[in-house]
Amino acid sequence: MGLVEDMLKGDKRALSRVITLVENNSQNCEEILSKLYPHTGNSQIIGVTGPPGSGKSTLINHLVREFVRKGYKVGVLAIDPSSEFTGGALLGDRIRMLEVSLDSNVFIRSMGTRGTLGGISRKTKEVVRVLEAFGKDKIIIETIGAGQSDIEITRTAHTVIVVLTPETGDDVQVLKAGIMEIGDIYVVNKADIGNAEFMVEEIKALIASKSSNVSKEWTAPVIKASAKKKEGIRELVEQVEKHWNYLKVSGEINKLEERRVKNEVVDTLNRKISNYLLSKLESEFGKEIFDEILKRKESPYSVVNRLIKKFLC
């Protein structure tokens, strides 16, 4: 397979093709990922999440520019939702990143969620590995516009940036569980539209009260920014670097990587076992099995247990 070799030599088109093969779950997808795996593990994975329209893409554009200026190679994965009804998607994050899209050290790829919940696509994690193997120093994942509990990003990213805006609700919203718990760095963006100070103070208070029960030495900074006016960008870049440094010095990175690898194994196991058993379901019991359940002669549990007994035990 020449494609993987070409990609490892730095061929962008080959990289792009490999990503497609992985995303499409093509037959040689696992073979490709296995070949690339030894080359992974050296990049900082940065997750950028927050509600739709909070300015994630514009902020990323600035982040990328600053990273490139520092001499880093940067990859961006921008995730937008696929339609549950048609499978189609409109991927529009790139529009905000045109400024950096022609730099030879930058590679940006848009992905639809293709039926996965949680804010990033199932395939995102694998494509991150591909970009790692390509030698990107910094890989930025932009989640879909996240709701309150789209926290899947924490399982892949080393550094999570939560982007919020002023006027997104009162102090009770800040107290809620979910996305407000996952930030390593918080950005109150669109500070130019006003009242950012209130939001900044509320988040700071939340972090201060939380840090008492966590032994971590990292206290999440809260940055007031305006991606439009290019304010707060330098501070954000500094904090991203500082967090990366903290992870390495404290040894946290090893724990994160260990958890990530475990997740990869568990995810792959879940998917393969479940696909395997699903393929046996109909051949073993026929389509009538669902009728049996409908007639209450069987239950979903008895059917699955029979399947497991027969094929896995």
């Binding site: 093709r17 045109l98 293709r114």
Partner: protein
């Protein structure tokens, strides 16, 4: 389980800012199950080709209403060739006179849609061009 999708890059090259039409097309392609990478207005040919390569699209769709089609289409075809990416299908739409349309098609633009084209026609043509291997 294979899950291929037709990926289409839609963009407006040049200074023409009339984006109503391209947005209607973007929406229609999305609803037909394709993945549309929407690049908006005022793109350079270099941006368009670089994006097409990074996104590994099957089709580039250009909307030009400003009369600059005889520059932008050939330039994009040429850049694709330089990048060894001539396999990416280029189509377009806008205000394009018949004689220019013929010239462009000879150069390698695979379809040009004029005013009044139904979105169904565009979808059908794309599926025809890309083949039935996908969706």
């Amino acid at each position: 389980m294979m899950a291929e999708k037709i990926r289409v890059l839609l963009a407006k090259p040049g200074l023409d800012g009339h984006d109503r039409g391209i947005k209607v097309v973007a929406r229609a392609l999305r609803d037909s199950g394709m993945e549309v990478i929407y690049l908006g207005i005022r793109n350079t040919p270099e941006q368009i080709v670089e994006t097409a390569i990074q996104e590994d699209v099957d089709v580039i769709g250009l909307s030009i209403l400003s009369g600059s089609h005889m520059y932008h289409f050939p330039r994009i075809l040429q850049l694709l060739k330089e990048r060894k990416a001539e396999d990416i299908v280029v189509i377009g739409g806008g205000i394009i006179p018949q004689e220019d349309k013929e010239k462009l098609e000879k150069m390698g633009v695979k379809a040009i849609f004029g005013p009044g084209t139904s979105t169904q026609e565009i979808i059908k043509k794309i599926k025809e061009l890309i083949g039935n291997k996908k969706n």
